[in-house]
């Protein structure tokens, strides 16, 4: 099987969904052929196949983009709306939170809102304070939305298909640093079900629960620590909300220790919810407190060395794991 990058994986998933269902269409800033198929090229080549009505380049109008996606979804279509960078969701939160997320409930089930909101972000590319944040916790706190992020190209293909299939809104977070990651192509029609975590690496001493780009750090650390006799189980949530509670709890009951890891800032992050839930439900299995690792509680800085200091370091992860398992 051929290798594909995450960019190609997303493009393939969108392409095959558009080919199968005339109701699937993309809209967002710079997404069409005239602008090069999206700032990260995810919709490259699709305008030529499906035309400008189905790959709609929009004005810089996030509220109008998401509002249009909501309306089209109510009329039975399956829009894929792109918010170029995750921080721009601040412009259109009303449409996402008050409308997309709630219309199924407020209508008594009459108007589900099947939209995929693709967005990119990531710390480590020098984009500074307004183009880098991981804001998944904002959406995880709202009932009625799935929050999804892939850590590898194969999952990207499968999660995107499943997100387009879903009959509810999905926030689909693409980490800029992951676009070039390669996987073996899982092939056409491949789906990774929403709400299903992956055990990215099996282990017995501690559960390291993470998602997105930090899965790579977690796997690298697990490799290193294996040499020191510490067996780390890495869980890639893939769907951040609603998350795969069964897999997480089963892992922690097995290992007796847990650490949550995310790029987003630590206070009130998704790690806090995971830790609280684990402590409520796995108290008797736990050998120590659940620890949380996250970004520094400040704006993402610009200068490269500051940015690197801001994000969780592999050395932080190693130190936390060793402190947890009692080996220094």
């Amino acid at each position: 099987m051929a290798q594909i990058t995450m960019t190609q994986a997303l493009n393939l998933a969108i392409d095959e969904a558009m080919a199968e269902d005339a109701g699937v269409f993309c809209l967002g800033e710079d997404v069409s052929a005239k602008q090069g198929g999206g700032v990260f090229k995810v919709t490259s080549g699709l305008t030529e196949k499906y035309g400008e009505h189905r790959i709609r380049a929009t004005p810089i109008s996030e509220t109008a983009i998401i509002g249009a996606a909501v309306g089209a979804a109510l009329a039975g279509q399956r829009p894929i709306a792109e918010i170029m960078l995750m921080n721009f969701v601040g412009v259109c939160m009303d449409q996402i939170v008050n409308h997309a997320a709630k219309l199924r409930f407020m209508s008594g089930g009459q108007t589900p809102c099947p939209i995929v909101i693709r967005t990119t972000t990531g710390v480590g590319v020098g984009f500074g304070g307004q183009h880098s944040d991981m804001l998944e916790a904002w959406f995880a706190h709202v009932a009625g939305i799935h929050v999804v992020t892939p850590s590898n190209a194969a999952d990207a293909r499968g999660l995107m298909r499943a997100s387009i299939d879903a009959n509810d809104p999905v926030i689909f977070i693409e980490n800029i640093l992951c676009y070039g990651l390669k996987s073996e192509d899982p092939g056409p029609g491949y789906r990774v079900p929403l709400g299903k975590a992956a055990i990215a690496r099996e282990g017995t001493d501690i559960s390291l629960i993470t998602y997105g780009r930090t899965v790579l750090d977690a796997l690298a650390v697990a490799d290193d620590l294996a040499k020191e006799g510490i067996s780390v189980e890495v869980i890639d949530l893939r769907t951040i909300a609603p998350y795969d509670e069964a897999t997480v709890l089963a892992s922690v009951r097995k290992t007796g220790r847990a650490i949550t890891l995310h790029e987003a800032v630590r206070p009130f992050g998704t790690g806090a919810e995971l830790a609280a839930n684990i402590q409520e439900k796995c108290w008797d299995s736990l050998k120590g407190p659940v620890r949380r690792i996250g970004g520094t509680f400040s704006a993402v800085p610009f200068a490269s060395h500051l940015e690197q200091a801001w994000i969780p370091q592999k050395s932080d992860i190693v130190a936390q794991i060793k402190a947890s398992v009692g080996k220094h």
Partner: protein, 322 residues
């Protein structure tokens, strides 16, 4: 003056009185303490809603606001379901989970009732975009007030609608107040419709209390949208004759404004038009009596209807919980 045929006049009159009698009944129930819910009175704006809905087909989409009773009842939501929802009953359009501010009834094209000022316009674009994509021939009408013209979503939506020539009608019911703030205290330009020119869009301002102005303007806007000629901003000048919501203070309305409103009340004006078109007092009274009987029956039905099961709080969150 554009002519409106007698059948259409009768249709508009019937819809107008349905809106008005529903409004009167709601206030009666609230005054009598039989019901205690949020309600946004539409007294003074009945004709605008009725004429707009009379210009649409049953399949056309509507997006309205919390002050949307006029669009909802005039578009034809079955009264029992409408009252059921307003009273928070299991028999309501949304099983009692939406309420007065979130009435939804896709069967009659009422797709969204938003409680957030200005949020309906971008959503209306999406409904219209779906029609443009799939060629179903529907148009979408979104109703909002003068207050909504000052929120960002208005501008984003107007620009996008014109850019794509979407089959959408922006109906601004300029009722001279945004919440509790008078028009002159929130906007310096004399009209909202003039903003359309800034987007390259057609905009018109009409007297929403005169059936011979509002109805033809709506028909033209609908025809343009349906023909693929793009959106229209129709500003219907009207009066909100009561406070922002039922029970709210409206002593801020100056006496000369109240006198002006009363002189322009659309109901006596419409009745005069009907009489000029050889409808009789008896005919018109009989229509109202029939509407009242339907409303009373619907209210009784809703009052007696069961409450939603408390399990409903867990349902319809995501498809898995449907």
């Amino acid at each position: 003056m554009a002519q409106i045929d007698r059948d259409k006049l009768l249709d508009i009159y019937t819809r107008t009185m349905k809106v008005n009698r529903t409004d009167e009944k709601f206030r009666e129930l609230l005054m009598g303490g039989k019901v205690a819910v949020m309600y946004y009175c539409v007294r003074g704006q009945e004709l605008v809603s009725a004429a707009a809905m009379a210009a649409l087909e049953k399949e056309d989409y509507v997006v309205c606001t919390y002050r949307g009773q006029g669009e909802q009842t005039a578009k034809g939501i079955p009264m029992e379901k409408w009252w059921g929802e307003c009273l928070g009953k299991a028999t309501g359009t949304c099983k009692g989970k939406g309420g007065t501010m979130h009435i939804t009834d896709p069967e009659t094209g009422i797709m969204v009732t938003t409680g957030v000022v200005g949020s309906g316009l971008p959503i209306a674009n999406g409904l219209a975009m779906a029609s443009q994509n799939n060629g179903d021939g529907r148009v979408t009408l979104v109703s909002f007030g003068d207050g909504a013209a000052n929120i960002g979503g208005f501008h984003e939506a107007m620009n996008m609608a014109q850019l794509y020539k979407l089959p959408v009608i922006f109906l601004c019911q300029n009722n001279r107040y945004g919440e509790h703030t008078a028009y002159a205290d929130h906007t310096d330009s004399p009209n909202i419709a003039t903003r359309a020119a800034g987007y390259g869009m057609k905009g018109v301002t009409v007297d929403g209390n005169d059936v011979h102005q509002i109805y033809p303007a709506m028909v033209e806007a609908v025809a343009r949208a349906r023909a693929g000629e793009g959106p229209t901003l129709v500003e219907a000048m009207c009066y909100r004759m009561m406070g922002h919501f039922f029970g709210s203070d409206f002593s801020y309305m100056p006496p000369e404004h109240i006198a002006e409103m009363k002189a322009e009340d659309p109901l006596p004006k419409l009745r005069k038009v009907m009489l000029e078109h050889q409808f009789t007092e008896e005919q018109l009274d009989a229509i109202v009596a029939d509407i009242d009987a339907q409303i009373n029956a619907a209210v009784e039905h809703a009052l007696a209807a069961p409450l939603p099961d408390t399990d409903e709080i867990y349902k319809d969150v995501l498809e898995e919980t449907a």
